[in-house]
C-alpha cells in the first residue's frame, strides 16, 4: 500500500474526492436539499483527500525522497488535446515538494472545513425575504451549502495544482482557484464592498496571470512542451540557455545587431521573469499585493483558505516547482544566484518589509494578518531568489499552519465579539450579514475612528484573553511562531532563510545582503505589529461591552485551532540545523533538508554550516519587536487613547501613510483603472464617430449620389423610355379597332388570312 508508484498512479483521487463533494453539494442545492448535510459532505470529501495526501506523503519518506526527485513518480497520462505531432497530456507528478505540500494542504483544509461548519452557521438566519422581512431559511440553507461547494472546489483546485505534471494543467487548476477566490471573497456580495473586493482580487491576479501565460507560451515556443519532467531536464534547460541574450535574439530576428535596455539578460531569464509574474499576482507580491487585504471581505475561513492553505501558497509553490528554470544559469550549482533570481529576491525583500510596515498601522484584526501574510510570502519569494530553496519551502509549510491558525483564531475572536455585541445591544444582529458597515463615521487626519459596532476593529476589543482562553492560547502559539521566537516553527524556517542570506552575503552577493538586512528588519516589524495585535485584542480591559461579553467559541471551532497549534509549535523541529546547539544533532540532523533538498533537474542543495550570528540577530529583532510592542501597547490599553501610540511616536503623517497603505490603491485607481476606463470611453466614442461615421458617411455619399443619378434617371434615361412608350401607345391606339371582340369577325379574318397565305403559296 505504501508503494509510491501505485499510490501516485491513483493520486488523481485526491482532487477527485473534493470535486465529488463539490458536485454533490451542487446537486443538493439544485434540488433544495442543501444545508447542514452539505458541510458533512464537504468535510468527508476533504477528509478523504487529506487522508490520501498524508498517505502519499508518508510513502515518500524513508530515503525514497532523493530517488523521487530525480525520477518523480508519474502516473499514467491522459491526452488532453492534440498538439503538433504529439499530444498535450495531463498527468500526476509526485516528488518531495509536491508530496509535502499536498499533505499540508490536506490537513489545513480539513481543519478549516471543520471550523467553517460552525463558523458559517450564521448563514442560516442571515437572509430575510425582501418582501415580508421574515427570515428566509431556505435561502440561508442554500447559501450555507453553497459556501461548502465553493471551498470544496477551492481545495480541488489546490490539490490539482500541486499534483499537476505540466504547466498547462497547473494553469487550469490555478485559475479554478482564482475563480473560487472570486466567488468566496464575494460571498457576501450583497455588500458592495465585497463585490468590489472580489472583482479586484480576480483582476489583479489575472494581470499577474498574463505574465505566467506569456511565460508558458515562451516555453512552448522554445521547447515545445511544458511537462515538468521534460522541462527540467538539463538538456531542455541548456537549450533555453542556448538562445542567448535578448540582444542577440532580437538581432537574429532583425538581421542586425541591436541593443535594448536590459538586453544583456538571457532570454531564459525573460521566460523566468514572465513566469514569476504569475506568482507576483497569486502570492500578492508588490506591486500586485493590493487585492489580498481587500480579500478580507470574505468569511474568515475563506481568508484562512486563501492565505494559508491554498491560493497564495500556490504562487510560491510555482516558483519552487520551476526553480530549475529560474536558476538555469547554474544548473550544476542550484543554490547559485542567476539573473532573474535577483528580480525575484528584490521583489520579495521589498514586499516583506513594505507589507510589514503597513501592518503596523492597521486596526482591522484580519487586515493586520493579511499584511503579515504578504510580508511572509515576501520572505519565501526572496528566499527562492537567493537560492535558499529548502528554506523557502520549509517556510511555506510552517507558515501555512500558523497562518491558518491565526486566521481561524481571529475568526473565533470576531465571532465572540459579535456575539458579545449582540448580547450587549439587543437587536443588533449578526454583523457580517448586514448590508454594510456604515463607512467609518469620521476620519481624523485620514485615519478612521473606531466604529463601535465593528467586530473586526481591534480598538473595540481588549481583555479577550480571559473571556476566550483557548482561542487566546492557540492564537498566542501562532503569534510566537510567526514572530520567530525560538522553538516555535516559524523561528526555524525564518531563521533558515536569514541564515542562507547571511551565508550568501559572505559569498559576495549584494542581493543576499539586501535580503538579510530587509528580512531582519521585517522580522523586527513583524514582532512589533503582532505584539500590538495580541496586546490590543487579548490584554488589558475590554474596550467595549461587546468585548466584555464575548463568549468562547463552539468546540467545532476551537478544536481545529488546537490541532493547528500543535503544528505551529512543533513542525519546525523537523528542520533544525544539524549544528544547532544542544538539539540539532539530537533531532536527526535536519531531516527536512535531506528530504527536500533535491531538484527535478538533478541538482541538490548542500546545507550550510550553522552560523550563530544571523540566528542571534533574528532572535534579537524579534525580541526587541515584542519589547517595543509591549512598551507601547502592553502597559496601557490602546483603545482608551485618542491617538495610536505608534502615531504619536512616528508622527501622524507617517502613520497616515502607513494606514493608507502607501496610497498604492489610490495610485492604481488614478492611473490604471481610470486610464483604462478613459481609454475605453474614448474608443467607444471613436467607434461611434469616426468608424461608424465613415460607414454612415459612405452611406450618405451613396444616398446623395443616388439623388444625382435619380435626376439623370428621371430626365434622360426615363425620358427615352417614355418616348418609346408614347410612340408605341399611339400605334396601339390606331390598331385597336381591329380588336372588336366579335368572334365571327376574327374567324373571317383568319379565313381570309389562310386564303391569302394559300394564294401566295400557289403563286
Amino acid at each position: 500500500m505504501f508503494d509510491i508508484a501505485s499510490l501516485a498512479a491513483n493520486a488523481w483521487l485526491v482532487p477527485l474526492f473534493t470535486a465529488l463533494a463539490f458536485v454533490t453539494i451542487l446537486i443538493q442545492i439544485w434540488t433544495g436539499r442543501g444545508g447542514r448535510s452539505s458541510a458533512w459532505v464537504a468535510i468527508a470529501g476533504v477528509g478523504a483527500s487529506g487522508l490520501y495526501s498524508v498517505v502519499v506523503f508518508l510513502a515518500t519518506l524513508g530515503g525514497r525522497a532523493e530517488a523521487l526527485s530525480h525520477a518523480p513518480a508519474m502516473s499514467r497520462r491522459l491526452d488532453w488535446l492534440p498538439l503538433g505531432a504529439g499530444q498535450l497530456s495531463f498527468g500526476i507528478l509526485i516528488d518531495p515538494l509536491g508530496a509535502a505540500t499536498l499533505a499540508m494542504v490536506g490537513i489545513a483544509c480539513l481543519m478549516i472545513f471543520i471550523y467553517a461548519s460552525a463558523y458559517m452557521a450564521g448563514e442560516f438566519t442571515l437572509y430575510t425575504d425582501p418582501t415580508t422581512g421574515a427570515v428566509d431559511a431556505a435561502v440561508g440553507r442554500a447559501r450555507y451549502a453553497r459556501f461548502f461547494a465553493y471551498v470544496s472546489l477551492f481545495a480541488t483546485g489546490m490539490f490539482g495544482f500541486v499534483l499537476s505534471s505540466n504547466l498547462v494543467q497547473a494553469l487550469l487548476f490555478w485559475e479554478i482557484m482564482g475563480l473560487c477566490s472570486f466567488l468566496l471573497i464575494g460571498f457576501w456580495n450583497f455588500k458592495p464592498s465585497a463585490a468590489q473586493a472580489a472583482k479586484k482580487a480576480f483582476m489583479t491576479t489575472r494581470i499577474g496571470d498574463m505574465g505566467l501565460f506569456i511565460g508558458i507560451m515562451m516555453l512552448f515556443a522554445f521547447l515545445g512542451t511544458t511537462d515538468y519532467d521534460t522541462l527540467m531536464k538539463p538538456a531542455s534547460l541548456a537549450r533555453l540557455q542556448g538562445i542567448g541574450s535578448i540582444d542577440g535574439w532580437l538581432g537574429g530576428m532583425l538581421g542586425h545587431a541591436v541593443h535594448v535596455p536590459l538586453g544583456s539578460l538571457s532570454v531564459a531569464a525573460l521566460v523566468a521573469i514572465c513566469l514569476f509574474g504569475g506568482s507576483v499576482g497569486k502570492s500578492a507580491q508588490f506591486p500586485l499585493h493590493v487585492w489580498l487585504p481587500d480579500a478580507m471581505e470574505g468569511p474568515t475561513p475563506v481568508s484562512a483558505m486563501i492565505h494559508a492553505a491554498t491560493m497564495v501558497s500556490a504562487g510560491v509553490f510555482l516558483i519552487a516547482r520551476l526553480y530549475p528554470i529560474f536558476s538555469s544559469a547554474t544548473v550544476d550549482h542550484p543554490d547559485m544566484i542567476s539573473g532573474p533570481m535577483y528580480a525575484v529576491a528584490a521583489v520579495g525583500a521589498l514586499t516583506a518589509l513594505l507589507a510589514a510596515t503597513i501592518g503596523m498601522a492597521q486596526y482591522d484584526i484580519k487586515r493586520v494578518l493579511a499584511y503579515s501574510t504578504i510580508s511572509q510570502l515576501g520572505y519565501m519569494v526572496m528566499a527562492l531568489g537567493i537560492g535558499a530553496y529548502v528554506a523557502a519551502v520549509f517556510h511555506l509549510l510552517t507558515h501555512a499552519f500558523f497562518k491558518a491558525l491565526l486566521f481561524l483564531g481571529s475568526g473565533s475572536v470576531i465571532h465572540g465579539v459579535e456575539h458579545g455585541m449582540h448580547e450587549a445591544h439587543e437587536g443588533h444582529g449578526h454583523d457580517q450579514g448586514h448590508a454594510a458597515h456604515p463607512a467609518h463615521p469620521s476620519t481624523i487626519l485620514g485615519v478612521a475612528d473606531a466604529d463601535p459596532h465593528d467586530p473586526q476593529d481591534m480598538r473595540n476589543m481588549g481583555g479577550l484573553g480571559k473571556r476566550m482562553p483557548l482561542t487566546y492560547a492557540t492564537f498566542l502559539a501562532g503569534t510566537l511562531a510567526l514572530t520567530g521566537i525560538p522553538v516555535f516553527s516559524g523561528f526555524w524556517s525564518k531563521d533558515e532563510i536569514l541564515a542562507d542570506a547571511f551565508h550568501k552575503m559572505g559569498d559576495g552577493h549584494w542581493i543576499a545582503a539586501l535580503v538579510w538586512v530587509l528580512g531582519t528588519a521585517a522580522a523586527f516589524v513583524t514582532a512589533f505589529y503582532m505584539a500590538r495585535q495580541v496586546f490590543m485584542v487579548f490584554a488589558g480591559p475590554p474596550a467595549t461591552s461587546g468585548a466584555a461579553k464575548a463568549p468562547e467559541s463552539a468546540p467545532a471551532m476551537v478544536y481545529p485551532l488546537v490541532v493547528l497549534s500543535l503544528f505551529a509549535v512543533f513542525l519546525g523541529l523537523v528542520g533544525v540545523p544539524t549544528a544547532f546547539p544542544l538539539i540539532g544533532a539530537w533531532l536527526g540532523g535536519n531531516p527536512f533538508h535531506h528530504y527536500m533538498g533535491h531538484l527535478l533537474s538533478g541538482g541538490s542543495f548542500e546545507s550550510h554550516a550553522f552560523n550563530a550570528l544571523p540566528a542571534l540577530a533574528s532572535i534579537g529583532a524579534a525580541a526587541s519587536g515584542w519589547g517595543l510592542g509591549y512598551a507601547m501597547y502592553g502597559r496601557r490599553p490602546a483603545a482608551a487613547r485618542s491617538t495610536d501610540p505608534l502615531a504619536s511616536v512616528i508622527g501622524v503623517p507617517l502613520f497616515r501613510l502607513l494606514y493608507r497603505k502607501y496610497y498604492v490603491d489610490e495610485l492604481y485607481q488614478a492611473t490604471v483603472i481610470r486610464g483604462s476606463v478613459a481609454l475605453s470611453n474614448f474608443d467607444s466614442w471613436l467607434d461611434r464617430t469616426a468608424i461608424d461615421g465613415a460607414v454612415n458617411g459612405a452611406g450618405w455619399i451613396g444616398e446623395r449620389s443616388s439623388r444625382v443619378n435619380n435626376w439623370i434617371d428621371s430626365r434622360v434615361v426615363d425620358g427615352t423610355v417614355a418616348l418609346v412608350a408614347a410612340v408605341s401607345g399611339e400605334m396601339s391606339r390606331w390598331m385597336r379597332w381591329l380588336q372588336s371582340g366579335r368572334i365571327q369577325q376574327y374567324l373571317l379574318l383568319a379565313f381570309f388570312g389562310v386564303l391569302i397565305f394559300l394564294a401566295m403559296n400557289v403563286l
Binding site: W80, A85, V168, L179, G186, M203, I214
Partner: protein
C-alpha cells in the same frame, strides 16, 4: 442511395422542405410546433454526421459530386458537397442553435408567425450550405442566401431602429460579397477550376494534381487583388476592425433568436471562409500581408474589448465582445502563415516547434469558432430571457444589482456563460484562446518581431475582456444589493433551462476535455498547413520547415 451517402444534401435541403411545409400551414401554433420538430431532423442528422465522421482518416468525407453548369469547354460548376474536421462541428453548431432559436422564438414571436419561421428555415439552409460546399460557386451562392432572411428578421421583428440596422447589415455585407464575386471570377479564370479542394487535401472526386492553389507568387497583382477581395468579404462578415460597426446595430435591433444565429453562426461564415477559401487559395498573398492582417486582429481584440467596456447596453456589450473574440480567430489564422526567421537554422527541434505552433494557431481558431458559437449564443439567449419577457430593460445601470439573488437559476447560468466568455480555464473559451496564443507566440518568438509585438499587446485583450465581463455583467448585474425594481421577477422555467443546458454542457465538456473536439479539427489542420506549405513551395517535413524564410 443510403442515408450516409446523401446525408449532406439532406441536411442542407431539409430546412427548405420545411419552409415549404410551413408555408402550407395556417394555424400559428401548428406552425411553431412543426418548425421546432422539423428542425430536429437536421439536428439528428448532423449528430449522426459527427458520429460517423472518421476522425482518424481525416480529409473530406460524405462527398457528393455532380457536374452542374457547364461554362463553355473549360469550366464546370459542380454540385460538390463534403465535410472535413472544420465543418462537421460547425454544421452541428448551426443545427443546434437553430433548434434552440426556434424553440425560444415560439414563446415570444406573436406577429407574422408563418413568415418568421419560414425565413428562419431558409436562413438555416443558407448557413448549412456554406459549410458543406466544396465548390466556390456553391459557396458564394449559399453565402448570399443567408443575407435575405436575416435582413427580414431584423427589419420586421427587430427593435425600434430595425430598418436602419437591417439595411446597414444588408448593404455592408453585400458590399463584401461583391468584392468576393469579382475575386471569384478572377480565381476561376486563373486556375480554371471552381473547386475548393486544393493541394494536399483529400477528396474522392478531385485529384490533388488538378487542384493547384491560386498563383503562389506573392508579388502577383492579380493574386493580391483577388486575395484582398476575398479577405475583405470575410473580414466584414467576421467582423473585424474596422469593418465591424454593422454588428452592434444589427445585434441590438435583431430579435433574440436573430442575435443568437447572427453571433453563433453567421459570423463564423467569415472565419470559415478564411480557412476554407482564403488560406488554401492564397497562402503566399496571405503571408505577404500577414503583419497588416495581424494588426487588424490585434486591434479587434484590444479595441473590441475596450469599446465593450464602455457599453451600458447588455446586447451591445456582447456584440463588441464578439469583435474581440473573432479577433482571436484572425490572430490564430495569421499565425499559421507568418514568416519566421527561425533562431537556429537547421535545428530540427525549432522547426518542430514552429510547425506545432502554426497548427495550434489554426486549431485554436477553429475551436474558437465553435466555442464562441455556444458561449455567445448562450449569452444572447440569456439577454433575451431577461429582456423579452421579464424586465424589458437592458441597461446595466437599471437592470443591475443582486440579480443572482433575485433570479438564482438565471444568475447561475449567466455567471457560467460570462466566465466562459472571459476565457476561464475549464470552460471551452480558454482552450481556444490558449491554442491561439500558443500559435501566435510560437511563431513570433521564433523570429518575427512585428508579429511578436502584436501578439504581446493582444494579451492585454484578455485582461480587458476579464475587466468588462467582471465589472459590467457579473458585478453590476449579478452581485451587489438587490435592485428592488425586479424583486419578484420569475426565475427561469424548466423549458428555458433546457434551452440553455446543451450550450452550458458543451462549454464544460470541451473546456474540460477538448480532445473530443480537437481530434476532429487537428487532422484537417495538418492537411491545411501541408497544403499551404506546398503552395509556398516548402517541404512540409518538420526538419526542413525552418528554411522557409532565410534571414534577409
Amino acid at each position: 442511395m443510403t442515408l450516409t451517402s446523401n446525408i449532406l444534401t439532406l441536411i442542407t435541403f431539409l430546412p427548405l422542405v420545411g419552409m415549404i411545409i410551413l408555408m402550407l400551414l395556417r394555424d400559428d401554433r401548428v406552425i411553431k410546433q412543426t418548425a421546432i420538430y422539423w428542425s430536429l431532423l437536421p439536428l439528428a442528422l448532423s449528430t449522426y454526421l459527427w458520429w460517423m465522421y472518421d476522425k482518424a482518416a481525416g480529409g473530406f468525407q460524405f462527398e457528393q459530386f455532380a457536374p452542374w453548369i457547364r461554362l463553355g469547354d473549360q469550366f464546370t460548376i459542380n454540385f460538390h458537397v463534403g465535410v472535413d474536421g472544420f465543418s462537421v462541428p460547425l454544421i452541428f453548431l448551426t443545427c443546434l442553435l437553430t433548434t434552440i432559436s426556434l424553440w425560444y422564438s415560439a414563446g415570444v414571436i406573436q406577429m407574422r408567425v408563418k413568415e418568421y419561421f419560414a425565413l428562419f428555415m431558409l436562413l438555416q439552409a443558407g448557413m448549412l450550405g456554406v459549410f458543406v460546399s466544396l465548390d466556390l460557386f456553391m459557396f458564394y451562392v449559399f453565402f448570399e442566401v443567408g443575407l435575405v432572411p436575416m435582413y427580414f428578421l431584423i427589419g420586421i421583428w427587430g427593435g425600434p431602429r430595425r430598418e436602419y440596422a437591417a439595411i446597414k447589415f444588408f448593404l455592408y455585407t453585400l458590399a463584401g460579397s461583391v468584392l468576393m464575386l469579382l475575386s471569384l471570377i478572377s480565381v476561376v479564370y486563373n486556375t480554371g477550376s471552381f473547386s475548393l479542394v486544393r493541394g494536399d487535401m483529400v477528396s474522392k472526386f478531385v485529384s490533388p494534381a488538378a487542384a493547384i492553389p491560386f498563383l503562389s507568387n506573392p508579388t502577383g497583382t492579380a493574386a493580391t487583388l483577388a486575395f484582398v477581395g476575398f479577405l475583405v468579404a470575410m473580414l466584414i462578415k467576421m467582423p473585424s476592425f474596422p469593418f465591424h460597426t454593422w454588428l452592434p446595430d444589427a445585434h441590438v435591433e435583431a430579435p433574440t433568436a436573430g442575435s443568437i444565429i447572427l453571433a453563433g453562426v453567421l459570423l463564423k461564415l467569415g472565419t470559415y471562409g478564411m480557412v476554407r477559401v482564403v488560406m488554401p487559395l492564397f497562402p503566399s498573398a496571405f503571408r505577404a500581408m500577414a503583419i497588416p492582417i495581424g494588426f487588424l486582429a490585434f486591434t479587434s481584440i484590444v479595441y473590441g474589448a475596450l469599446v465593450a467596456m464602455a457599453q451600458w447596453d447588455f446586447k451591445k456589450l456582447i456584440a463588441y465582445s464578439s469583435v474581440n473574440h473573432m479577433g482571436y480567430v484572425l490572430l490564430g489564422l495569421t499565425a499559421s502563415v507568418v514568416a519566421v526567421t527561425a533562431a537556429k537554422d537547421g535545428d530540427a527541434q525549432t522547426a518542430a516547434n514552429i510547425l506545432q505552433a502554426r497548427q495550434a494557431g489554426i486549431d485554436g481558431a477553429v475551436m474558437q469558432m465553435f466555442a464562441h458559437g455556444i458561449i455567445t449564443g448562450a449569452l444572447f439567449l440569456l439577454v433575451g430571457l431577461i429582456y423579452d419577457t421579464r424586465t424589458h430593460e437592458r441597461d446595466f445601470r437599471k437592470l443591475g444589482g443582486g440579480l443572482w439573488r433575485t433570479v438564482p437559476r438565471y444568475g447561475t447560468f449567466l455567471i457560467v456563460a460570462a466566465f466562459a466568455s472571459l476565457g476561464l480555464p475549464s470552460l471551452a473559451g480558454f482552450v481556444a484562446e490558449f491554442l491561439v496564443f500558443n500559435g501566435a507566440f510560437g511563431v513570433a518568438l521564433n523570429g518575427n518581431l512585428p508579429f511578436l509585438v502584436l501578439t504581446g499587446l493582444s494579451v492585454l485583450g484578455i485582461v480587458f475582456t476579464a475587466a468588462f465581463i467582471l465589472w459590467k455583467i457579473i458585478q453590476m448585474l449579478l452581485l451587489g444589493p438587490q435592485n428592488e425594481t425586479w424583486i419578484g421577477t420569475p426565475d427561469l422555467t424548466r423549458s428555458e433551462m433546457f434551452m440553455l443546458l446543451p450550450l452550458v454542457a458543451f462549454m464544460f465538456i470541451y473546456g474540460l476535455y477538448p480532445k473530443w473536439l480537437l481530434d476532429y479539427i487537428h487532422p484537417t489542420t495538418t492537411q491545411l498547413v501541408t497544403t499551404m506549405d506546398t503552395a509556398l513551395s516548402l517541404p512540409a517535413a518538420p526538419d526542413a520547415a525552418s528554411a522557409e524564410a532565410p534571414a534577409p
